[in-house]
């Protein structure tokens, strides 16, 4: 059987691995980073080894969810592939690559060119990530009637945007796909703006803030109550984040009780004249931002966006499908994408969705065990299955028929 490389090309991170080893894909940022005022550039995978993550200027090949900077993407991919493949030969390998929903024809062509001509794969299949996630979900829960029909409403809360994707019979119902232009990146930037205004200027620390967001943010189940609680003196949400010092602590960490106590003790000792004054650590104060940031996804109108919230967007997507499918779609809502890792996401979505869904329909919201990897795992299953051979477009076909060869993905 042909070796197949599987790649989920996300706006935030690349998930890359071989279909033969479906357990451990490489995950690394899809970006190149440079310290301001310095020469050295860190490319994709190399960013994982960085010890100083402050003041980075990032360049991302994916703009608003769509791959537009192929040069940069090729370099990032080529580097990662070199270390992944080892003995494998690229010209003999196939590639499963995820493709954004409703991709522009020009961008699809360019992506195929990148895979077949620039990177030199033998064949390629571009696949919408929702179908991959659904495939992985169906492999885990084959008994669900909706899964047997290849039917689900996949919520893909990614880095660049959030989609509600109705699928039926292992196909994306393209006219019914709905999108909110808010994803992990916008949320990170929103958080960055909030803490820069309220606590400390972090405007140049996008990369670090992304990490802080992933550690601290959660989805509130009752915003009004939590907000009232946060404004009290003993807010349970208030916490301090110790920023990295660039030496021992790469990413910084949430300040622990012990550290607070130790700092207080050192302060007291210094006051009493025994010992030096304690070193002041740079601290980032966070309070209601922890849940108000993910809140934007459920109510984009809060930050001035005109689009509906996630729950309503799902309803819009389902309503755009055939009425006979509604019950099946609502019975199998699948949460994927890195932003869905936020604690409390599933519960909140269920609670918001339930009142909007007619009460004679069953509603089940399933969260993938690792939402960020769901699409990759499904794509790996696809890569290992014999179906791949039928779906892929080989280099010869591409050379002979060009764009015509891609038509078979349009059904």
């Amino acid at each position: 059987m042909q070796d197949v490389v599987v790649c989920d090309l996300g706006g935030g991170s690349v998930k890359l691995g071989s279909a033969r080893q479906p357990d451990n894909p490489k995950v690394f940022p899809n970006a190149s980073a440079k310290h301001k005022g310095e020469r050295g550039t860190f490319l994709g995978e190399a960013m994982l080894g960085m010890t100083d993550v402050g003041g980075l200027a990032l360049r991302r090949p994916i703009d608003r969810g769509y791959l537009v900077a192929w040069e940069l993407q090729r370099e990032i991919m080529a580097r990662a592939l070199k270390s992944l493949l080892g003995t494998l030969q690229l010209p003999a390998c196939g590639l499963v690559l995820t493709e954004p929903y409703l991709n522009l024809p020009a961008l699809r062509e360019a992506a195929v060119r990148l895979a077949l001509e620039d990177l030199g794969f033998a064949s390629v299949y571009l696949c919408p990530p929702a179908l991959c996630s659904l495939r992985a979900h169906a492999a885990r829960a084959p008994a669900l009637p909706a899964n047997a029909a290849g039917c689900a409403l996949v919520v893909d809360a990614g880095f660049s945007f959030t989609h509600a994707v109705p699928c039926f019979d292992w196909r994306v119902l393209r006219p019914a796909v709905r999108r909110i232009d808010l994803g992990g990146k916008a949320l990170t930037n929103y958080m960055k703006e909030l803490v820069s205004y309220r606590s400390m200027n972090m405007m140049d620390e996008t990369y670090l803030l992304e990490h802080v967001k992933e550690q601290l943010c959660f989805v509130s189940q009752d915003v009004a109550a939590d907000l009232a609680l946060a404004s009290t003196r003993r807010s349970p949400f208030r916490c301090e984040y110790v920023l990295p010092d660039g030496l021992t602590d790469t990413w910084g960490h949430v300040r622990t009780e012990e550290e607070v106590a130790a700092a207080a003790a050192a302060m007291q000792a210094a006051r009493a004249g025994q010992g030096p004054p304690p070193v002041k650590q740079p601290l980032l104060q966070v309070n209601n931002e922890r849940f108000m940031v993910p809140e934007a996804l459920f109510h984009p109108s809060d930050i001035g966006m005109e689009e509906a919230g996630l729950a309503e967007t799902i309803v819009q997507a389902v309503r755009a499908t055939h009425p006979h499918l509604h019950a099946l779609l609502y019975s199998n809502v699948l949460l994927t994408g890195g932003t869905a890792r936020c604690p409390g996401f599933r519960e909140r979505l269920y609670n918001e969705l339930r009142p909007l869904v007619p009460d004679d329909y069953e509603l089940h919201v399933h969260a993938a065990p690792d939402p960020a990897l769901a699409a990759w795992q499904g794509a790996a299953l696809l890569g290992a299955s014999p179906e791949y051979a039928h779906l892929a477009v080989s280099r010869q076909e591409w050379k002979l028929r060009g764009v015509e060869a891609l038509r078979k993905w349009d059904t």
Binding site: R178, P300, D302, G304, E312
Partner: protein, 173 residues
């Protein structure tokens, strides 16, 4: 004489007093657009924030003569070789790489036949079931008041004071 001056100050302060609806909308849009940026850009006040990052766009002849150009720059010129830089190429470089918006425009999605799904049709429609909630622009809590000048929300006198000192749109208008 003194009457005249008083009239003028009143006029100016009136104009500064309220930021109109269009301007408020524009500021919100600019803020939303910024959420999609990879890096924070300093607002362009003429010369830009950091001097060492600031580079003049090469104007043909000067770059060839070397002069104050750094080693890295010289190398670039060498690679460029005999190719002449057209005005279009320089303009393209200044614009930076193509963004997704450029591709959407090129694809002319508005010319697709009716009912054909595309990037534009996939955007979620405005909310029908929930009204925008109002949060204090300073502390993030629920807010009861609106800034009379710029329309931002605030929740208390303390937040209002912070708001007028820092963020009120009076300087942007």
């Amino acid at each position: 004489m003194s009457d005249k001056r008083a009239l003028r100050t009143r006029k100016v302060s009136e104009r500064m007093a309220v930021v109109d609806e269009g301007e408020r909308r524009r500021v919100i849009q600019a803020r939303l657009a910024k959420l999609e940026d990879d890096n924070h850009r300093e607002e362009d006040f003429g010369a830009g924030g950091s001097d060492d990052e600031y580079e003049l766009p090469p104007s043909g002849d000067e770059a060839d003569e070397g002069g104050p150009a750094s080693g890295r720059k010289k190398k670039k010129v060498k690679v460029g070789g005999g190719m002449r830089k057209t005005r279009g190429m320089i303009a393209e470089k200044a614009r930076g790489p193509k963004t997704f918006r450029d591709f959407v425009e090129e694809a002319e999605l508005d010319r697709l036949p009716e009912g054909e799904p595309s990037y534009l049709t996939a955007a979620a429609a405005p909310a029908q079931t929930a009204a925008p909630r109002k949060f204090c622009s300073v502390c993030g809590g629920f807010s009861g008041y609106t800034c009379t000048r710029c329309g931002s929300r605030f929740c208390s006198r303390r937040c209002h004071a912070v708001h007028t000192e820092t963020r009120c749109l009076k300087f942007m208008a």
